[in-house]
Symmetry: none
Subunit: 139 residues, 2 copies
DNA sequence: ATACAGGCTGGAGCCACCTCTAGGTCAAGA
DNA sequence: TCTTGACCTAGAGGTGGCTCCAGCCTGTAT
């Protein structure tokens, strides 16, 4: 509320709001920042202010993390994301590798989804034994 | 080879052989044991001997791990395996939670795939302005 | 007889990723 | 003015999942 009173930073968010929006703890946000994943601006009093762009980075991070990319790799991808034409070849190569990995993982997860689905449904109505356990045993 | 000379434990394997068979390091095997994932028998001299059943547990673990279950969850599943009737609902609940997680992850990955795809394919050699940046920022 | 492979233990170390603590600043409201 | 709550910092602590190490034991091969 006091924020919106300053017209020049109308769209800036403080760390607590960002935490609520992203589901990441404020500690985690500060930790990511320390690792260089983004650099929010600061108010005169030293408070962090996050822009739309920072939020977008955070969403990217969340997704990349769900793929088990390390924070280090994520940092480099964000670098490239911020300035694609000047990305180093090594970072470009990383992006390409990661894209391949993501596509591979999509396939596997899709298979996994089907399997789990099947198991969960089998489990309903099974009279004895547990199909899930049995499946894990036999495959 | 020396094992098979003792007829009573013909089918038992020592940790090194199990390591070779499963691709898990002996350290990892002992670590899993410490977590309670299984309890191999011991020879009079204190050596671990793994039975067919232990191997089956390890197989179970490998598979469950590939389904993104944590070692902790796997420990629960193995417990339940020992008492399937009683645990069916719990296993099912665990599988349902995992399924939901997988579905969520599929969504995230699909978005990530799009982002990386743009990053990799649309910004090569563009001299000025890259359409993907704005694209990336809008979500 | 001795060397060597392979086993044992407890505990330390490692990496990635947080999470918590203590002690302080700042801004606004009762 | 005092309190409250959100924020700040540096740094310690914790978790998951291994991995390594020192020091000791055993059992087969030469």
């Amino acid at each position: 509320m006091s924020i919106s009173s300053s017209s020049s930073i109308k769209k800036s968010l403080r760390i607590g709001e960002v935490s609520r929006l992203t589901g990441l703890s404020v500690d985690t946000l500060r930790y990511y920042e320390k690792l260089g994943l983004f650099k929010p601006g600061r108010s005169s009093a030293g408070l962090r202010f996050y822009t739309k762009r920072d939020l977008s980075s955070l969403h990217f991070i969340r997704r990349a993390k769900s793929m088990n990319f390390s924070l280090n790799e994520i940092a480099r991808l964000l670098e490239m994301r911020a300035d694609p034409q000047h990305a180093r070849n090594e970072v470009r190569a990383l992006a390409i590798r990661k894209l391949a990995a993501v596509e591979e993982q999509l396939q596997q997860l899709d298979t996994l989804r089907r399997e789990l689905n099947l198991l969960v449904n089998l489990c309903r109505g099974a009279e004895d034994g547990c199909p899930i356990i049995e499946d894990l045993e036999n495959n």
